[in-house]
């Protein structure tokens, strides 16, 4: 638990979350969500939860992004808001 490292990663996570819900292109939003998951994984390994961190990196940032890309490629890429 190093406070400056913690605050830096938290700020990056906030920026990624706001960008992921405000981008109009859905593929870009999904990519930013993958970056959000990796920052979250870094935050957890900084807190000492290594098992949760590598599960997040493999399951949520890997399989989740793949599922999102599959869904976006089957449907429309543009979003109105």
């Amino acid at each position: 638990m190093i406070a400056t490292f913690d605050i830096m990663i938290l700020v990056f996570v906030l920026i990624c979350a706001i960008a992921a819900i405000s981008v109009k292109d859905l593929l870009s939003a999904v990519m930013i969500l993958g970056a959000y998951s990796f920052f979250m994984c870094l935050l957890w390994s900084e807190m000492g939860a290594v098992d949760v961190a590598f599960t997040e990196a493999s399951v949520s940032a890997g399989i989740g992004t793949v599922l999102f890309i599959a869904a976006v490629s089957q449907t429309k890429r543009r979003s109105k808001d």
């Binding site: 938290l10 819900i21 859905l26 949760v52």
Partner: protein, 124 residues
């Protein structure tokens, strides 16, 4: 006041993250955007639970020099129980994500759009 901010700032940032996800769930019209908001919401809650496990002065929950015979003190390792519960929660999160995306694909096949207001207008 400064002590309060130092000891509670991470809870406030988790609440802000959770509110971003909540706003995307109820305010956005696109269905994929709603699912992205759900993902952010669940991740913020998991982050909150992981942060209750941390102890000042504790190390990772893996016993050092494991197979020697010596006493283990509970205060020198962080709490492993929230980590276990949140491992389960992450896997359940990905399962709900898969089912939600399958439903979205089926909705798109039927209505040819992903915007919520157009689906409601077509369904009237």
């Amino acid at each position: 006041m400064f002590d309060l901010i130092i000891s509670k700032y991470n809870y406030w940032i988790y609440i802000i993250l959770m509110m971003i996800g909540f706003y995307a769930m109820i305010g956005k019209k696109n269905l994929v955007k709603k699912i992205i908001g759900m993902n952010i919401f669940q991740t913020a809650i998991i982050l909150f639970f992981i942060s209750t496990a941390s102890k000042k002065g504790g190390t990772l929950p893996i016993i050092m020099h494991g197979h020697g015979a010596h006493a283990v003190k509970a205060a020198s390792y962080i709490n492993p129980l929230p980590h276990v519960l949140m491992l389960t929660a992450i896997v359940v999160m990905v399962s709900t994500l898969g089912v939600a995306l399958a439903i979205v694909i089926q909705i798109y096949r039927r209505y040819n759009t992903l915007e919520e207001n157009e689906i409601l207008r077509l369904n009237k």
